[in-house]
Symmetry: C2
Subunit: 114 residues, 2 copies
Amino acid sequence: MPIELTASQALGLWHGVSLDQVRHDDRDLTLRQMAILLHIYLVPPPHTVRGLATELDVTKPVITRALDTMGEMGLVDRVRDASDRRNVLIKRTVGGALYLEKLGDRVREQGRKL
Amino acid sequence: MPIELTASQALGLWHGVSLDQVRHDDRDLTLRQMAILLHIYLVPPPHTVRGLATELDVTKPVITRALDTMGEMGLVDRVRDASDRRNVLIKRTVGGALYLEKLGDRVREQGRKL
DNA sequence: TGCATTCGTTACGCCACCGTTCCATTTTCC
DNA sequence: GGAAAATGGAACGGTGGCGTAACGAATGCA
């Protein structure tokens, strides 16, 4: 079910959420990291480093480093694939789910303010 | 006129726009820079360094550096205030307007896909 | 069994952003 | 006039992401 937005509403929404995020969230995720995190949580698994790299059109080390950073933040977890030990499977965590839940609330709240 | 979104729609929207931005825009603005840029274009002028710093709850050099970077990208311009020469007034540019127009289109397009 | 391929990671040098602190200019107020 | 305040910016060391290029481990295939 599509949502029709005016140009002004679209930018206002983005503005409000960005502002809220800058003001209240000290975890300062890059746009890339944010895209990776959302991809992990919104697209059905399994997720591998290489898969994410090609899907986001980004080099592999970018994914590795993002997983390092977000792993330390508790937003994401890594597990070796048992069936092919070269692969690493990226797993979701409670912390990551909470983080995105809060982001979703921000988007919804700003949408209501339009 | 409020827009009511489900949690899934909100995150899906954010995901789609982030992904599109990562894939197609090499100008890699920080979340902070993005918030500053949107603030300049969506909130009525005048805008000063100090004003933006307090509004975004950020230190002054953050604003100065963001204006440096975005100035070189042609997204924003600086002009000395004639009436109080200590102040710097931040001005909009054609480049910045185009940039945000494209961003708005992305948001609207992703909204339509929900 | 060997050898090429695939996967994730690490190493390297580079560059941008960070907060703190200090500074030059301009204004205000006595 | 002169001191104090306010403004934007520069300097500093630190931190972290970047792309390129290598690497070790695991797999596939002849």
